[in-house]
Each structure stands twice: as C-alpha cells, then as structure tokens.
C-alpha cells in the first residue's frame, strides 16, 4: 500500500547540510498499525511528513497507493493528500477561530462534501470521540485531552485510508493518553492504516509493528514482519 525505496531527505541551509533521512526502505500494508520510535532529531517527524505528503524526499521513490509521488508538485500532493490522509498532531493544532464542529468540518471542506452530508458526518465523528455535547465550544474552552479528541475526530471524519499521528499522546496525561490511544486503535481495527510516531514504549506496544530510527536510518529495515511483542523484548 505504501512503499518507500531508498528514500533520502537532506535539509540545506546556506552553509549546513543535514541528512534527515538516509536511504530509508519501508513497506506498510493496508490496515497495518505501525509505530515509529527513536530519540529526538532522528528523523521520525520528517519520515511522517513525507508519508503524509506534506513534505517531499530529496531522492528515492515513494509509492503511495500505487503512484510514485516522490517527484509530485505541491498541487498534485494536495490532491493525493485530500484523497487518503488524515493527521493527528502532538499540539492538537485546532484553529482558534473555529468551534469544535467547524474545526472537524475543515477536513471535509476541501474534499467537496455537500453541506448536509458534512453536518451528518461531523456529528457522527464527534459522537465517536464522545464530544457530541461540546460541538459548539471553542477550542480554548476544552481540556487538552478533549482538544486531541477533536483532532482525532477531524482526522477520521474524512474516512481516510491512512491516519498519521505525530506523538498524539505527547501533551496528554495518562488517562487522556489512554483514551486517545483506544480511539486510534479502534479506527485502525475498522480498517484504516495507522502510522504513529511515539516516545512511549507502552503505546508502541499496541502497534502491529514497531520501527526504530537513529540518525536518519531505519534500525530494523530488513525485518519486515517482527511481531510487536518481540520488538518490545529487545
């Protein structure tokens, strides 16, 4: 479903070159739950951004649902993204000026969903994350956990094939973190591919597969089918 072949990403400023991803090869199957772990600055977020089509690799190929998108233009990436990707961020990234309902709706606006269907799907998504009663609240009126649940609702409302979660529990306490993880696992169980960057071993343990990164390399890039339990044991 997703396949990275010898992917490299170099950040260039005037006099410094940073190798963020170094010859990364990775295949992700439909419906898989993949956790990416590694220390700060190892390239996790870069990898996630490329997987989510908000960034492009410097070299290599990226087969996204059957198309090589490594050389796509910004506009083409936008079209692919619209078709299949949902995001959940560590810092929630809700739009301050929109209320809960409207924030979730943003995910449907650019996908040209008719307004009555939009309303129905937004209500269903909020119901799913247990925030139907907060639909008219502004983000500032919600707790961190609630805000992240809004973000999850926003990611799932467009029924994407892939959801990318960048440390979704990073800013949350354990109880809220668990709740969000449960929700993500549930979405994955219903068939959506889930790729999550996390620092937490326990949350990574709930994934089908864990890949570890260090300095832009995938540590276990040969082992495609290591059971999650085994990975924890290392």
């Amino acid at each position: 479903m997703l396949k990275l072949e010898h992917l490299t990403k170099i950040y260039r400023t005037t006099d410094v070159e940073t190798l963020a991803l170094d010859d990364v090869c990775l295949t992700i199957k439909r419906g898989e739950f993949l956790a990416i772990m590694g220390p700060s600055g190892c390239g996790k977020s870069t990898l996630l951004n490329i997987l989510g089509l908000v960034d492009s690799p410097t070299s290599g190929a990226y087969w996204f649902l059957g198309t090589d998108v490594a050389r796509c233009s910004e506009d083409e990436l936008t079209l692919h993204r619209r078709a299949g990707v949902g995001f959940v961020f560590q810092s929630f990234n809700l739009i301050d000026d929109l209320n809960v309902e409207e924030n979730v709706e943003v995910a449907l606006i650019y996908r040209h969903v008719p307004s009555d269907e939009r309303r129905r799907r937004v209500a269903a998504a909020l119901d799913k994350v247990g925030l139907a009663h907060r639909a008219r609240h502004m983000p500032q009126q919600l707790s961190g956990g609630q805000q992240q649940r809004v973000a999850v609702a926003r990611a799932l409302v467009s029924a994407p094939k892939i959801i990318l979660a960048d440390e979704p529990t990073g800013n949350l306490d354990t109880a809220n973190g668990d709740a969000v993880m449960d929700m993500l696992r549930g979405i994955n169980a219903s068939g959506t591919t889930l790729i999550m960057v996390t620092h937490s071993e326990s949350y990574a343990a709930r994934a089908d597969r864990v890949v570890r990164m260090l300095d832009g390399h995938l540590m276990d890039d040969a082992s495609e089918e290591i059971p999650a339990t085994h990975a924890i044991g290392l």
């Binding site: 936008t78 990707v85 000026d97």
Partner: protein, 814 residues
C-alpha cells in the same frame, strides 16, 4: 467553504480587535480622503457638463500674444460679430450674453448686481431648468427679465414672481456708440420666467437675464448701429451651438476668412487670434482668470490621494503580515486537510476584502460627514451622488476592490506559502523575507510622511512670504470705494471725515483690479507695450512708497497731469518703476530723470520722466512685477482708496456711506477692505497650504496608527528574544533602546528618500513664483526630527511594557 472562511475572518477580526481596528481605521481615513479628492477632481473635470448637449456648445474668445508678455486670454469678443456669424454659418445657433453692473431694486431691496443682457435665443443653446414660467419667448419682448431662483427669492421673496416688475437703474457708460456717460436711467422689467440656480461647477455667470432687444441694452445699440470699421467693443460673450463637431471644425477653420471678409478691425491687430472653445473646456483652459481651475492642481490632488492610499495600504499589508504567524497553524491544518494554495489565497484575499469593505463603509460615512466642510472651504456645491450617480458608485466599488486586491495580495501569497511540515511543528516562526518587506514598507511610509511635512512647511513659508511681500505696501485699514467720482467734491469731503487719515484716487490697474496696456517709447525710439497705470496725486505716497529718484506727481506742478484734450501739445509727466527703467533702456533710475518718453505712438508727443518708484504690485510674488508707467489722468480714475483710523472705523464708514448718498449717486456705494482683496489674490496658495496641512495630518494619523500596530506585534514576536536578553543581563534601558532603535531606523532611512525628492518637487513648485523663499536646511530637518520624535513617542509605551516583563514570563511565552 465560504461560510467557514467568513466565520474565521470575522472571529479573527473580533479576537484581534486592536490590529483590526488599526488596519480598518487607517484605511478608512485614507479612503475618506481619497473619496473627497475624487469628488473634487470629478467636480473640476465636469465643469459645465450639466448642460444638455454641452459637447456642441462653444464660446468664441480670443488670445493675445503681445511681444514680451505672457499670453493673455479673453472670453469676450465684439458683439457685432454675432449677426455676421448667423449669416455666414447658418447651421450654428449664435447667442450673446453681455454682463453689466446695474442697480437692481424692488421695494426696499436695492443692490448693485451683475446682470446679463442676452439674446432671446440664448435658451436654444442653454437648456436651463425652469422653476416658473416658460423659457420659450421669455426674452423676446423688450424689458423682460428671467431670474434665477436665488435672485427671485432675494427680490420677491418667492420663486414664482411671474409678471412682477423689477426696477433696474443703469448708467449707459458701457462705451458703446451713442451711450451717454452721464445719463442714469431707471427702467421697469417684467419677470417672464424663473430658472434653477446653476450649480457651482460652471464658468457661466447667470443671475438676472435681461432681454437684449430692450432699447437700453448695449446689444440692441450695437445691433442698431454696428461700429463697422470705426471701432469695436469686446464685452460680449458669444456662444455658438452647432449640430456636431464637424460643424465646429468647419467654423473654426473658416474664422480667419470670415474675419477678413468682414474687415474686423479688432482681429486685424496682428497679435490677436480668435479661439473657438467648447464650454466644457473653459474651466481648465490655460491662463484665464485666477479663479479658474488648474490642471496642475488636479494632478497634485490625484498624486496626494494616491500617496495617502499607499500609506494606508502599507499599514494594512504590514499588520496583516505581522499577524501572519498567528495564522500559521490554521494554514497548516487546512493544507494537511487538502486545501490547495489557491484555496488559501482566496481565503486570505477574501478576508482582506472583508476588512476593506468595513473600511469603505466607514470612509463613505466620513466623506459624507466632511463634504459640507469641503464645500464651504472650496466654495462649491459638490454632491456625494451615491444614490444618483452610477459612476460614483462604480468608482467607490472599483477603488475598494483595487485596494483589497493590492493590500490583500502580499499577505495572501505569503501566508498561503507556509509549509505545513514547518508550521505544524509548533515553533514560532517568521515569514521568510516578510520582515524585510515590512521594513521597506515602513521606510516608504515614513518617506511619504516626511515628504508631505516638507511640502507643508515650504508652502506655509512661501504663503507667509507672499502675504508679507504683498503687504510691503501699507494696505492696513485701507478701504476701496469703487465706481467713485474722483473729480467731484465727494473725495475732498471724505478726506475731512474725522477718523479718515488719507484719501487717494487711481484707476483699477495699480490695485490689481484691471489690466491696462499702452505703447511707450524706449530710449532707442521704438515703442514697447507696457502696463500703464493712471493714478491720482498722492496715490504713491498714500501707499507708503518713496521715490528712488526724482519726485512723484504734485499739484504744485500743473504740467504733471495728462491733459484731457487729446489735441494738446503737452502730454504730462510720468513716473516709472524700476522694471520700466530697465525695459525702456535707461542705465539707472537717476539717469532716467528729466528724460522724455512718449505714450503716443501716433504723434509722438513727449512726456517727461519725473521720478522712479520701487517695483511693487499686490500680486507681486506670483509673477514678476512688470514694467509699469504711472501717469495722472483724472478721466481714468474711478477708485478711491481711503485710509481710516482703526479705532473709529465704524463711525468713519457710516460717514462715508452718508456722504455717498448725499452726493446724489443713483447707485449704492461699493466698498471693500483692501486687505481682503489681497487675501483673495492669494486665496489659491492659502488654499493649497490648508489642503497640504490637512493631508499631512491624514498621512500622519495613518502612520501613527501603523506604528502602534507594528510596535505591538513586534514586541509580541520578540518577547522570547527579550526574555533571553534579560536572562543574559540586559537592563530595562537596553531593551527599550533596542525596541526604539528598531523603529527609529526606518525613519532615518526614510529621510534619505524624502529629502532629494522633496527638494526637487518643492524647488519646481517655488519656480512658479517670481519671488520665493530659499529651501533652507531646516525646512528638511524639522520634518525629519518631528517624524523621529513622533515614532519614538508612539513606540515608547509599548517598549516600556515589554521591557518591564519579567524574564520568566517572556521565556514561557509561546
């Protein structure tokens, strides 16, 4: 999608009240100024276009290019041309208007008024709006009169005095053959129609239209007894209405042959050419009356409007981009959810449009509120025309969309270019390059402000200089009595009134009220066209002038006055001004004394030069003082200058009025203060000065608004940096200095742009004056210092607030 954008825009606006109100207020002030300028310019460009068919209406005037003088224009031409024009160009409707000052009376109301004798077919050319009666045949009968609504109300208290009688008293001293200088007749005229008052955007003078066929009318006298080749009059305004521009061209091309065919004596003069001009072009036609419009003024106003709009637009762009980082998350979220760049551009452009729309609404109200003041300042009747004029509405919408697009474009492009991968990592970020753009815009804005301040200063200094120069003449407490009998006892009696300190007679020309030219013999024997001014004994002394050489006219020398008998063998004495001394070819004032010249090219009768007077003229600064020859000719003196004691002015004025009535004059007295006339002469540059001051004020307020917004957003953006600096040991003073310098720097840079451009433009403006101030360095330094002080004071408070923030708070900010 649109609803979502609108919600975001409005909530963002409400949340950022300070920035939103600064952006909107600045833009509203700028737009209001632009709307008013546009209304003024539209008014100036639409003179006389309210007449139906104005494109086909022409005025026959003439142009005089006298050797060594600026070109002169006259709207009036000989009245005797009209019947000939009708005969030779039958497709044109030709009608004359002959303005004259007469005494108008009805019951107790009596005034000197300007009336207009007119041909009956004048209404075939000008379709005036009728208030009462009908215009067809309104002036066909002798002694019929058509009034404007204002005049009807003034004399009859109603707009419908049809059939009522109006008494007119006039001396037939209009110079037409058979007119009698001494006769003063009273005649009754019957009101046949009342027309609507003309709007202010006309060059036509229409108050009281009298039937030209009346026997007492100069038009009737000319028609009954055309001057032929014996002479000419040039007091009639001759209007032509043609079927189309082709006919106008035909007539224009045919005019020289026409004039030759009819042996026009006037146009046989080599320096006169006839001019056939559309009435709509008269207001901005070059070199006519000073009250007319100037295309340069229009250019200047349009430029000012553009500059103010630019300043307001810069604020707008700056604040929108300064706030941009706050919107970064939104951009990132929208992009990751599939928004293409064009969606975001559309969103932010739309947001700019919302701001602009609010600003336009406020500006429209502002313009509406301020328009009456503008009208009284300009003495116009400009209307907003929002509901009536489709072009006004179009302009309003057009300029709003233009401003919205221009001001919204940069923020929209910059914001929509945010990379989601970057912005969503939740670190504060700056728009790349935006800070440079912002700095440049602030520099530009301050350059505009400093430039306007420089211009205001220069114009103020020059106005002051001009008025002082004009008052080198002792014009204090002088009243002028016009149309006065200088030869009767009246003048001597006025001199005896307690509270009157002096009396002098002259013609209108030395007081700038008329132009009078004559041929004067130079040293080399040739005749040169110069200004010749008739003054009374003691006139030059009255105005505080002293001879540079020789003496002034004196009653003790009977030979000084020009004899009334043209056949006399002596021609009196003359006094020259310094310019005339040079022009006639004398090497010095002293050298000219005792020499003879002549004002009589036909017979060459000599006049002795008895004195030289310093150059002076009331409108001295606008044009160089021309060479002038002064002489004493009582027949050409109809203005009495009276200097009164300021403390006893009311009694003295009452006594003068009483004497006037006792002298048995059939006309009411016409008197005015000379100072007011001088001020009127300079009304144009005083008006320019006021306008510039107002616009500088507008630009200043926009710039201050911008600075407040910028400093607030800057210190917000730099909070973290300042926290770090403070943690590293920076004092409050260091931080304040840091922030102040950030805003002082663009002001300093702005000077480098404003100075050279301001210098060139103002030097050019000053060159339009014969005498002007020098562009001293302080005229440039003062505005610059003022701008820096203003910037510092504005930013000061914000800088202090930031400097007072404790380091830990600043560091936790994010």
């Amino acid at each position: 999608m649109f609803r979502n954008y609108l919600i975001t825009a409005l909530r963002n606006l409400v949340r950022n009240r300070l920035y939103a109100s600064i952006s909107i207020c600045g833009l509203a002030i700028g737009l209001a100024a632009v709307f008013l300028i546009a209304l003024f310019v539209r008014d100036d460009l639409s003179y006389d276009r309210f007449f139906p068919d104005y494109r086909n209406i022409y005025l026959l005037g003439m142009e005089a290019s006298l050797p060594g003088r600026a070109r002169l224009y006259r709207d009036s031409t000989p009245a005797e041309l009209a019947p000939l024009l009708r005969a030779d160009f039958p497709s044109a409707v030709v009608a004359r208007i002959w303005p004259q000052s007469v005494v108008v009376r009805h019951g107790d109301i009596e005034n000197n008024e300007r009336v207009q004798w007119a041909d009956a077919n004048i209404f075939d050319i000008f379709k005036f709006k009728v208030v009462a009666g009908t215009l067809a045949n309104a002036l066909t009968e002798p002694n019929s009169v058509v009034l404007t609504r204002e005049m009807a109300r003034k004399y009859f208290g109603t707009a419908d005095p049809i059939g009522e009688a109006l008494e007119l008293g006039f001396g037939a001293d209009d110079g037409t053959p058979g007119s009698d200088r001494k006769a003063f007749k009273k005649r009754l005229f019957s009101v046949t129609a009342v027309i609507e008052d003309l709007p202010s955007d006309t060059e036509m003078e229409v108050d009281i239209l009298l039937a030209g066929v009346t026997a007492d009318s100069p038009i009737a006298r000319i028609d009954a007894n055309p001057p032929g080749q014996d002479g000419f009059t040039i007091d009639s305004l001759t209007y032509l209405k043609v079927p189309g521009s082709a006919t106008a061209r035909e007539i224009r091309n045919g005019l020289p042959a026409f004039l030759k065919r009819h042996k026009s004596r006037l146009f046989a003069l080599p320096y006169l050419t006839p001019l056939l001009r559309p009435i709509a072009s008269l207001h901005l036609a070059p070199g006519v009356a000073p009250s007319r419009g100037h295309i340069q003024t229009i250019y200047a106003m349009v430029a000012l409007g553009a500059l103010i709009l630019l300043a307001a637009g810069i604020n707008f762009v700056n604040l929108m981009t300064a706030r941009a980082t706050r919107r970064a998350v939104e951009v990132g979220v929208r992009k990751t959810n599939g928004a293409a760049r064009r969606h975001l551009i559309a969103q932010f452009m739309g947001e700019a449009m919302v701001y602009v729309a609010i600003a336009v609404a406020i500006a429209t109200v502002l313009a509406w509120v301020l328009l009456p003041s503008l009208n009284s300042f300009l003495d116009r009747t400009i209307e907003l025309g929002l509901l009536t004029d489709i072009r006004s509405v179009g302009f309003l919408l057009g300029i709003s969309v233009l401003v919205g697009v221009l001001a919204g474009a940069y923020p929209a492009l910059a914001l929509s270019a945010f990379h989601p991968a970057t912005v969503l990592r939740a670190v504060t970020l700056q728009l790349s390059g935006a800070s440079l753009v912002r700095q440049c815009l602030v520099v530009l804005q301050f350059a505009l402000l400093i430039g306007l301040l420089i211009a205001t200063g220069v114009v103020y200094r020059q106005t002051h200089f001009a008025l002082t120069e004009a008052r080198r003449l002792d014009t204090d407490q002088v009243i002028l009595v016009t149309d006065a009998p200088c030869r009767g006892a009246f003048k001597d009696e006025v001199a005896d009134i307690p509270g009157v300190r002096g009396v002098a007679c002259s013609s209108g020309s030395p007081l700038g009220m008329a132009v009078s030219l004559g041929q004067v013999k130079a040293v080399d024997g040739s005749y040169i066209s110069l200004d010749t001014h008739s003054v009374g004994y003691g006139f030059l002394e009255f105005y505080g002038l002293k001879p540079l050489a020789g003496r002034f006219f004196s009653k003790d020398h009977p030979g000084d006055a020009m004899p009334e008998d043209p056949q006399a063998s002596t021609r009196g004495a003359v006094v020259l001004n310094e310019a005339a001394v040079r022009r006639l070819g004398f090497t010095s004032a002293a050298q000219a004394i005792g020499k003879s010249t002549s004002l009589d090219p036909q017979k060459g009768v000599a006049s002795e030069i008895i004195g030289v007077v310093p150059d002076f003229a009331l409108d001295a600064v606008q044009k160089a003082v021309p060479p002038i020859v002064y002489f004493v000719y009582p027949g050409l003196q109809d203005i009495i200058s009276v200097r009164i004691d300021g403390d006893r002015a009311p009694e003295a004025l009452a006594a003068i009025d009483r004497l006037w009535t006792q002298a048995g004059s059939p006309r009411p007295i016409t008197r005015s203060f000379l100072d007011q006339r001088v001020t009127a002469l300079y009304a144009d540059i005083v008006r320019q000065e006021t306008l510039l001051a107002v616009f500088s004020g507008v630009a200043l307020s926009i710039a201050i608004l911008g600075l407040i917004g910028m400093s607030a957003s800057m210190s917000e953006l730099r909070t973290k940096e300042i926290g770090v600096r403070k943690a590293m040991g920076a004092s409050r003073g260091d931080v304040v200095r840091l922030l102040l310098w950030q805003f002082a720097r663009p002001v300093v840079l702005a000077n480098l742009i404003a100075w050279p451009i301001g210098y060139c433009l103002m030097q050019q403006w000053l060159n339009g004056f014969a005498r002007h101030i020098a562009l001293g360095p302080w005229l440039f330094l003062t505005p610059s210092v003022a701008a820096i002080v203003i910037a510092t004071v504005t930013v000061w408070r914000q800088a202090l607030v930031v400097a007072n923030t404790r380091a830990v708070t600043a560091l936790r900010y994010e």
